[in-house]
Symmetry: C2
Subunit: 459 residues, 2 copies
C-alpha cells in the first residue's frame, strides 16, 4: 500500500521538471528503498530518474538495484553515461558490475574511464572469484604513524565522502605495508596531540587476498569488526572488506551450501531463480541426479543378486521402501548435524571419536524405537498368509525389524562419520550431500536387509 | 603451534605475580583470541586470569567465551564476584547470561546488583525469545535535537566507554520517542555549531521489540547498518541491535533452518553438539523419524494393495528402490531451490504460476533423461528370463521407464509447489523438509509405478 503511494509520488515527480523536488524525495529515503521502488519501472525510466539526481546518490541507489535490473539499465545507457556512472560507484561495486558486462562492452568502456580507475578495476578484477581479494574495496582510510590524532581526524574529515567506512583507519608505512589500526572511537577519545603510533593497535586482524571470502566474512563475525583489512603476500594493504559485505557473503555461501547439500551444481547468484534459463537449471540439477542414478545401478545389482530370496519370500519386497526411507532419513539427519557443527567449528576432525561414541548412543536409542515400530508394522500390515509355509509371521517380522535396527545404526554412523572423513581429506563435507548419502546408505541397507533375512530365516 | 606458544605464555604469566604483565598480554590481543586460549584451561584457572586484569577487559574476554565455558566459570564464582562481573558486562550479554542461570541462582544474584541494572535486566528479560527485543542492548547513545554537532561529539566522547557503538546516535524527545538518527560521520563532517535537528535523518529504519530477530538482522543487512534501533509500541526507543549481533543471529537461524530442513526438532544453541545430552539429541531426531515412519505406513499399505501385481511380475520389485530414490532426489532438489528463493525473497507466493511453468519445463527435461536411463538400466540388469511368459522385456522396460518419467515430473512439481503453498498458509516452508517430502513423494511414486505397470501391461 505504502509502496504504491510512493511509486505514484515518483511518477508524479518524473512528469514535473522539478529536479530538486526529485532529489529531495530520493534523499529523504534510504537508497535501498528508492531502489526497491524503481525496480518496478522500465530500465529507461529508472535511468530517467537517476540521471536527474546528484551523481553520488545515483551511484548509491544504483548499487542497491538487483543484478538483473542493473544489467538492464546499463545496457540502455550510452557509453559516456555508463563511464560517468562507473566513476561514481564505489570501487567494489564498480568491478562487480564491469565483470558482468560482455567482453566487447568491457573493452569499449575501459578507455572512457580515467587512468586511476582503470588501474583500480584491473587490479581488483585480477583476484579469483570467491577470494577475499575479489570482494574487497580499495576505498579505505590510510594514515601514517607519525601524525597526531587531531591531524588524523582532519584527514578523515577531508576524505570521508570517498571512503567506504571512516570508522576504521589503517596505519601503513611508506611502502603501504600494514603497521596497525585505529578506530575513529580511539581517535575521538585520544588527546588531539597524541601520536597515532602511540594509540594504534598493532595486533591487527587481517585477511590475505587469496583467503576464501567465507573465512574473511567469518573473521568479521568472530572479532565483531566493522571492516577487515586485506593484505597481499608482502603484507601490503590492498583493500578492506566491510561488515555489510560480510553479511552478503554469508548469505550467498549459505544458499550455495544448501544447494550443494541437495546435490545442485553450479554457482548461485542473488536474485536469479526466475531469470536463470531452464537449460541452466536443468544442467545444474541433472548432473547430480544422473550421477546418482548411475550409482543406483549398484543397488539394482544388489537387489538382482537377491532375487532368488525375494522369489521365495515375497513379503520382503513389501518392506523394502520402509528400510530405504528410514535409512536415508537417519543418515541425512546425522550428516546435517555434523556438517553444520563442523562449519561453525563446534567440532573439529579431532573430535571424530567423541562424535562416534555420541552417535552410537543416539543411534542405538533410535534403532530400538524404530525396530519395535517395524515389528508392529509387519504384524499390522501382513497376515499369516503372506508368510510362506514353514515360517511364522512373527519370525519374519522379527527378522525385518532386526534388519531395520542394524540399518538405522549403520546409516547414522555413516551419515555422521563420512563428513568428518571428507573434511579430513580437505574436501568440502557438503559433497556427502543428502541425495549422495541416501544412495550410499540404500546400497548398504539393501545388503543388510537381504543378508539378515537369509541368515535369520535360513533361505 | 602459535596457540600452544601463547598458551605457554599465559601459564607462565599466571605463575608470576605481575598483574600488569598479564594485563598487557591480554590487552595486546583481541579479546576473542584470549577467550580461545583460556577455553583450554579449567574454569577456576580461567577466573584466576580474568580476576587479575582490568574489569572492562575481563567482561569483554568473558563475553567471547563459549556458552558452556561461561556457565562453568560462573558456577565456580562467589556471589559477589559474579555480581561484579555482571555489572561490567554489556547489557545484552548480561541478560543472556542471567537467563541461562538456574532460577535459584538468579534469585540470589539479583539483590546483589544495583537497582538500575536490576531494572534493565528485568526489562530486557521480559521480551520473548527470538524477538528483536530479546537480542537488543540498552547501551546506545541518545541525543536531543536542540544541541549542536560539537556538543553531541563532546557527549559521545564522555559516554563512549559505556556504549555498544558510538558510530550511530539516536535523537529522542523528552519521552524517549525516536525522532531521528545521526552517524558520527555526519557529526564530524558538520560544522560544530550546526544543530542536530538540521542534520538528523528523520526517515529512520527501525525494528519493533516484537519483530522476529531474523527480520531485524535482515534489515541490518539490507540497509548496510552498523546498528538498528528498536522501539516499542509507543515509538519509544528501548534499545539497539548491532551489526555483529546480526551476523550471530543469521548464523543461528541458518543452523536451525538446515536442521528443520532435515527434520530435526528443537532449538539450536551455539557450541553445543558434544555437550547436548544423548537423550536430547535422541528426542529432537526421533520425533520426526518416528512420525515419518508412521506416515510410511501408508506406503506400506499401497505396496500391500499391489502385492498381487508384484507376485505376477517380480521384476517390478527389483526397480522399486530406483523409483523411490529418484523421486526423493528430484523433489528435494526442487524444494531446496524454491525454499531458498522464498527465504531470500527472490520469488514470492505470487510467482506460483511462473514457478510452476518453469519447473514443468525443467522436470520434462530431467524426466526424459532419466526415463531413457531407466529404460537402459532395465535392459542392462534384467534378462528375458525375468520377464514372465507373454511379456517382452522391452515392453516391461518401457513401462518402468514411463513410470519413472511420470514420477520425476510429479516429484519435482510437488517439491516446488508445496513450499509455496505452505508459505501461503503462513507456515514455515521448511516444514516440508527433505525427509517429509521424500515420504510424500514415495507414496505417490509407488502408486504411479504400480498403476502404470498395471495399465500398460494389462495385469
Amino acid at each position: 500500500m505504502q509502496k504504491i503511494l510512493i511509486s505514484t509520488d515518483i511518477k508524479r515527480l518524473m512528469k514535473s521538471e522539478d529536479n530538486s523536488a526529485l532529489q529531495k524525495f530520493c534523499e529523504d529515503k534510504h537508497p535501498a528503498d528508492i531502489a526497491d521502488i524503481l525496480s518496478s519501472l522500465a530500465p529507461t525510466e529508472i535511468w530517467k530518474v537517476l540521471s536527474r539526481i546528484e551523481d553520488q546518490l545515483t551511484a548509491e541507489i544504483f548499487s542497491h538495484l538487483g543484478d538483473e535490473t542493473q544489467m538492464k539499465v546499463v545496457s540502455s545507457l550510452r557509453r559516456s553515461d555508463l563511464a560517468h556512472l562507473m566513476t561514481n560507484l564505489s570501487s567494489d561495486d564498480r568491478v562487480d558490475l564491469i565483470k558482468k558486462l560482455p567482453e566487447n562492452k568491457q573493452d569499449a568502456l575501459l578507455p572512457a574511464l580515467a587512468h586511476a580507475e582503470r588501474e583500480d578495476i584491473r587490479r581488483l578484477a585480477s583476484y579469483p572469484e570467491e577470494t577475499a581479494g575479489s570482494v574487497m574495496t580499495s576505498e579505505y582510510v590510510a594514515l601514517t604513524a607519525s601524525i597526531t590524532a587531531g591531524e588524523a581526524i582532519a584527514k578523515i574529515r577531508l576524505e570521508a565522502p570517498d571512503k567506504e567506512t571512516i570508522y576504521y583507519a589503517y596505519v601503513t608505512d611508506s611502502k603501504r605495508r600494514l603497521l596497525g589500526f585505529v578506530s575513529l572511537k580511539d581517535l575521538i577519545l585520544a588527546k588531539p596531540t597524541t601520536l597515532i603510533k602511540d594509540i594504534m593497535e598493532t595486533d591487527v586482524i587481517f585477511a590475505n587476498v587469496s583467503d576464501d571470502q567465507e573465512d574473511a566474512a567469518r573473521k568479521i563475525g568472530k572479532y565483531d569488526l566493522i571492516a577487515l583489512p586485506v593484505v597481499n603476500g608482502n603484507n601490503t594493504l590492498v583493500g578492506i572488506i566491510t561488515h555489510d559485505d560480510a553479511l552478503d557473503i554469508l548469505n550467498q555461501e549459505y544458499t550455495e551450501d544448501m544447494e550443494k547439500f541437495m546435490a545442485i551444481a553450479g554457482k548461485h547468484e542473488a536474485g536469479t531463480y526466475l531469470s536463470t534459463p531452464t537449460l541452466v537449471h536443468y544442467k545444474n540439477r541433472a548432473i547430480w541426479i544422473v550421477t546418482l542414478a548411475a550409482i543406483g545401478l549398484i543397488s539394482g545389482i544388489i537387489v538382482h543378486s537377491f532375487s532368488g530370496t525375494l522369489m521365495q519370500l515375497m513379503i520382503l519386497a513389501l518392506y523394502m521402501p520402509m528400510i530405504a526411507d528410514t535409512g536415508g532419513n537417519c543418515g541425512s539427519q546425522a550428516a546435517t548435524v555434523i556438517i553444520r557443527a563442523l562449519a561453525i567449528k563446534e567440532i573439529s576432525t579431532k573430535d571424530a571419536f567423541k562424535v562416534f561414541f555420541k552417535e552410537i548412543k543416539i543411534a542405538l536409542l533410535i534403532s530400538i524405537t524404530l525396530g519395535l515400530l517395524g515389528f508392529g508394522k509387519v504384524l499390522l500390515l501382513s497376515g499369516s498368509k503372506d508368510a510362506p509355509v514353514g515360517y511364522s509371521l512373527k519370525t519374519i517380522a522379527f527378522a525385518i525389524a532386526l534388519a531395520m535396527s542394524v540399518q538405522v545404526i549403520s546409516a547414522t554412523i555413516i551419515g555422521a562419520m563420512l563428513p568428518i572423513f571428507v573434511t579430513k581429506m580437505k574436501l568440502d563435507p557438503a559433497i556427502v550431500a543428502s541425495p549422495a548419502l541416501t544412495t550410499i546408505v540404500d546400497i548398504i541397507g539393501l545388503t543388510i536387509y537381504f543378508t539378515t533375512a537369509k541368515l535369520m530365516l535360513g533361505i
